[in-house]
Point group: D3
Chain length 339, copies 6
């Protein structure tokens, strides 16, 4: 793999009730490490890329454990800082059947959210890298992280890196500190070459509506608006998810390019879903992989969708599979035991 990809975001601990139980139905939590950008970095490392996470962990064993977990999977952690503050957490009840999964975020006051933008020397951190990735979660955490993200994407562009941005719009996070999402996100998107986003993200950011009659045309319309608003943007891509029950989804994907091409990756049927969280990040990593190894856009989209689909089969936030596993899924090889 050529090049180094830098991601910027928070590491979280997921504390989950085991085996489809409700919260504390039995006195145990299963623990996973996650975080939107960390998920992307882990998947890229598993694909063989030099993937680095810029983040801040609290100065305690929880932070060290989270850092160790992504280092285990091959992510470069050398520039992760530590600081006072708490570990960001989320509590998860995995749903089943007609009962939706529930997440309780408990990340306010985290070491990452509390860190001043000045602690990141982006010029140094990004020099020599090829790609910078961040999602909408990072600027949503507060004034400090919003400013850090904006400075990061500007420096990245200045240094000639490609920039990708994943919408991941979370209203509750913005409300908590009364940040004005459109203003901030527009500045970040202005520097992006590649966006993972759909019509709902663009409606928020551009403060408009996309009232077309079906999802695909809404997405095309949102992409057009995005290309108009953001001069550097080259590709606008998203998954499309249909949910029959908590355990049974269909997932397809679309990519629109600045020159008006529309690519579609056909729907994959997802039954007996194991763990849905992180599928969007797996998609992002899959598309990033495809584009950085010179797949054409449609191949990259299909690779990304297969990665997203496979993520549903893996406990935890990370897509831990390698290139061959994803390629086999794209090729729809048979599903019997590999001996």
């Amino acid at each position: 793999m050529s090049g180094r990809i830098v991601c910027f975001g928070e590491l979280l601990l997921r504390l989950a009730a085991p085996e489809r139980q409700l919260m504390l139905q039995s006195p145990a939590f299963e623990v996973h490490v996650g975080g939107a950008e960390a998920n992307v970095a882990v998947s890229l490392a598993k694909f063989g890329h030099l993937a680095e996470l810029i983040s801040v962990i609290p100065e305690n064993p929880l932070g060290m454990a989270a850092l160790g977990e992504i280092r285990k999977h091959g992510v470069d952690t050398r520039n992760i800082l530590s600081a006072p503050g708490r570990m960001g957490l989320y509590f998860l009840v995995q749903g089943a059947m007609q009962r939706p999964s529930e997440v309780i975020y408990d990340r306010a006051g985290s070491a990452f959210a509390s860190t001043q933008p000045a602690r990141y020397d982006w010029q140094t951190l990004l020099t020599g890298a090829d790609w910078f990735h961040v999602s909408g979660v990072t600027p949503a955490l507060g004034d400090s992280t919003a400013n850090a993200a904006m400075e990061a994407v500007r420096t990245a562009r200045k240094l000639g890196l490609k920039v990708s941005f994943d919408g991941n719009f979370r209203p509750k996070l913005w409300q908590a500190w009364q940040g004005h999402a459109p203003t901030i996100l527009r500045q970040i998107m202005s520097e992006a070459d590649l966006m993972f986003a759909d019509h709902r993200d663009m409606a928020v950011v551009l403060e408009t509506d996309f009232a077309e009659s079906n999802t695909e045309t809404q997405i095309q319309s949102a992409a057009s608006a995005a290309f108009k608003a953001f001069p550097h943007l080259q590709k606008f891509t998203t998954t499309i998810r249909v949910q029959h029950s908590v355990d049974h989804h269909s997932i397809s994907a679309m990519m629109v390019t600045r020159d008006g091409q529309v690519h579609r990756a056909p729907a994959i049927e997802l039954t007996s879903i194991v763990d849905r969280i992180g599928a969007g990040d797996a998609f992002a990593a899959g598309v990033l992989h495809g584009l950085t190894v010179n797949m054409d856009d449609r191949q990259a989209l299909c690779f990304g969708l297969a990665a997203a689909a496979l993520k549903h089969s893996i406990p935890g936030d990370f897509n831990l599979l390698g290139i061959d596993d994803v390629a086999a899924c794209v090729a729809e090889e048979r599903y019997d035991v590999r001996r």
Copy 2:
């Protein structure tokens, strides 16, 4: 919530092989607390009602643990007695695919079954309550519990409570003490305002057959017979279950009222079932809730069916979800992660 609802029945421990294993395939049991009427009481408490269980536990740590478990969920346990005798148990092997679940009951000689009817002062226990609920399991346990149940429903009616009865016909339990089910159940049903039962229950109780060509007409015919036989009965309701495999059912529901109205709640598809036990009790609690908060009959039926459907997604005997969760299922809201 208005009013206090009193349930009468045995607390059981469920000892279950973990993770779809056969009996003692590994040396562990998962433990849950259950019992038909206790399940109803827990669900009602979770819906916000003042729900009380009248029962008897053995004078040992097992009994105390079972009591504690329903108290944890908000059931009023102040009138639960303790007595010599053993804890009622059932062993469960959860089925899968084409392999049915198996229950081994081990409840003979329990403290509850051994308690003399005179220990319950129904006049005192029921004064001030609004509703009394019992199922066919309680009278099936022996002469003592049959007499206690009959006295309870008579006192309830005398004191002006509404009375509901859930058929739950278990031939093995009746055979064990050679009780004559029809005689006893008819006396209980004579005091009921609301019955959870189908044509098979009524065939046993009225010692007749309902030979109509399909399930819906059998149920309507059984309801007519019930209204004729039991003068206080106002509503006759049941779920209808179609089983494609152990993990995949469809469930719908029907209610017939004394004035001849027939309400139907349309089928809900249940795939990847987590735990089927207690769904009937969840239905009963859902309908009871609907009727006591002044839903109309059809709304109450749909609420009950949604509660029954959701129960399949929860490990253990109890439906632990609240009103909002059930209402969301009735409304068929989307199934994505709630953040």
Copy 3:
């Protein structure tokens, strides 16, 4: 049950990542005992047969534990030898959805594979028995086991036992010691009355191709070739598996007899598969059972297919169900809880 059935093969430990996790995603293995012929022996013992395994375990606690496990299930272990060498292992990652299961074999140098053929006194071991069963795994393990298997089937025929052989072709095992599979397997098949095999097995053994347009005709054509090549062969049977995803298969079965009859057992839909490994061995044991208790061929085939289907619902390599459970599946009885 009449008669004694002798199986010959290796006992293995399966070390599996728990709960659909990837390899060592959490620091634990679930352990099961298996092995193609041991699986057949356990199932036959559960069906009530006198089933014996001839094998070799290492002289250590792992070997003793594996032996104890099949003795627990009623297999006669009195002639299992112990010898220096290691325990055969396989590591398993259970797949899910579009992610296939993966097996890492780690059985080279096992006590079984290292044992000289002279240690088995087949004349004594088989005298008084009625049936001998072996699969293609045993001769694939090396020169010693290949010779032992060939001597065993010859002695069995000489002593008047029926001989069954299950193809189970594993190219990697043959490659490891550069054994010439066709030569050896043809000698074993020459002594077989009953073969569990399909067109792919026969293509290897007869070094030919079966290029018919669909699976059923390929199998018929392979059966014809087998009857021509192997004079004692009476029945040629196999399951046919269609895989929609890792969790969802359809399985049917076919039997062709020397006199040209073709029996089919119609497809069973397998959703929410628990554990697919050992289903072929469960099929073999089911058919063997049927034929030894005088079912007709079609009944035996259906019994075998139901056994194979049910195996998918049981964790581990063994089909631990009894005759009644399989018969209920053949009869498509309802799937509700048995109380």
Copy 4:
């Protein structure tokens, strides 16, 4: 048991690494509910008292689960409030041998700490009660809880309740909001009849030193100072702990009364300690029990010490044993299996 005992404090979740592992050495937490005053309330309820906890839980499933857990054990939870904010947590690594246990508190911003004092109507809450208990943790959490605690003890005294206070001095909590512990604690102690404290607590509160040559005389001297400073104080009591290793302590206890009597409960040897947390609270509950059932001071002290000792044998924060269990320990009955 006569009388009702009201405790005031925060409910916490303990998230602990299992089986003497380090933090996240395996990806799981064991969960227990605790909190200094909740621990006292649970133990009192297990002793048969009407024990109530006044607290605030967050409006989420974590809060409800914590409340349910103490309700399970019989604590009266009817006046527990819910409010926005997070659940107080602490992470625990259980030590072993020469490796100390480590606690990471993560309770800043909790619903309890954020609740305004005005939400507690102490006049109503305490009317009809006999005893009020609070510890030094509650006022240490911030201005709001400090004010609430001060108002509570004043109201308690006014209404004629006995007041007990357990030092539990935690410097880190006070530093976090720069509260001046001596000023606040002196006001609370001024209303106390009974104090669980030692010379280190008094040194902080009275801003002095107790430089006597051994622990017992330091405690006596501290008690004298306390009686001088706090006019209502009748009894001053504490455990004395000697630590040979993390798994092996000796624990004794002392009580000094206003009239100058000194009672000692002789040392109990604690080897193979299971869980040391909550032992101080178990001591407090034991002494409170003794004093409210009219044991003499020495008996109450010995009962408290036995309760503290037994707590070390129970996983979690709570002493879940009953009066008979503690009495048997006081009587040094034999330790063989009770059948």
Copy 5:
């Protein structure tokens, strides 16, 4: 090993709270199979003897699982009957420190206790055997088992087997059916060659007191009385246990022979006890082993004591160690890792 040893007693399931927890502190039971005589049979099988258990299991999967467990360990189960009735259970809370372990027996109405003596054809069952062993638990279960035990020992003597009896006096079991223990036990002891018993057992059986000043002289005096009362008795042996805490015992042993010799096995210090249950049965099996392989009395006693000591280190009721392990303990070999 020469000879076949037949044991007669009930198989029980132990349902135990995990990891020093109190009853149902978490919702799981660990399951072990046990029973006084079954424990002896398993240990003898592990020592290489032909050990058989005569028993009755219920006709359900619990009974089959219990049978399978001892068959796994090499016990001959061919004459174990099945019958209607329930599985005998006991619930266990493992103690710790100053908190004793607690057993709740739940074995009334078991298949074993309900079986008529006529179902055992002792003449056939014991022909060809060399030794018969039973404990005081079997006759304590009711009239039927008492009669069966008495007939068994008489037949054993008639057929020339050695007979051993282990006191195991359990007052609660006798009280439950108002059996007169002394009458029945005297008849059994009259046929015994070897008794595992102490002064407390003999006090019950001979309805007298042994008021000597220390345990050793009490035991010698009880032995003298036993030799006087029971003409066939040759050896009287027991362990002597001193309990410092639940986790720390000292255990020694004594044997008195009819010719007046007294053998002592010196105390072994037991710290960090893992599981104390079944140690008496391990002692019995150890002594039986020693005597049947022609150790002298003192060697047999020391072997038995070492077996009893080692049992404390093994989870569950069974001593699963072999001869070499016990011999190494007798020889006090070093305790470092064996590689």
Copy 6:
């Protein structure tokens, strides 16, 4: 920390029976990663050193998982190779009380043992490093690893690195390939500056006896012989272990220097041992740390001994504690909960 420390050895998976159970007493293994030199590298990384492991993993998920585990803890894994072959394993039964732990090695034919010495380019691998560490396990694995180890130490000396060697003599490994340990080990020791060894190691290597009357003088005598035989050797050090039971050891340490000084670190009492494996490696890492940060010899010895002692409190092969934790143990700080 100054400098880079390179270790050379095999990564192993430990498969251990849980909770003091015997082998496969329940169907699960707990998995840890270990290996003598890997253990040293992990501990050094936790102490803050640049610690690298040179090793070979099999080309499969087991190898990747093992590599990931030490990378998680901060070891530099960039030069770890992968190759065909199997993963080295060892099975562990943790002992208790008088029952010793047992290890079954299953590492023959591993990828590491099968790798040709030519694959390691020591000149490149060691350039820029400061210290090289290897133990007696590496050369014991076969001709290839022995030659690689010899070339490594020679290159290290040539490049000016310090060399340390840990005896770890394992006769079974040498016997398996009939390697002549003394010849090979003498060549390695000839290049060592620091040796972790005792009189038993030196007796093997120098083919002599150290018959002094006590352990300390034997060690001093062995050290003298070592200094005479190996010209570069500066320090000879070892722990001294006394075993009272499997759970209770005392451990002290001694260091002898070329100039004749003898340092002693006084005994630490180890009760309630959690996991004894890896303590020797923890000692080596502790001493290495001390010497590389300019502690004097006695301080380094005490630091090493404290590290070894603390390792006994941690599940798994690694000492995962940091410098402060070890320093606190050296300082004998108190053992209460750190909050």
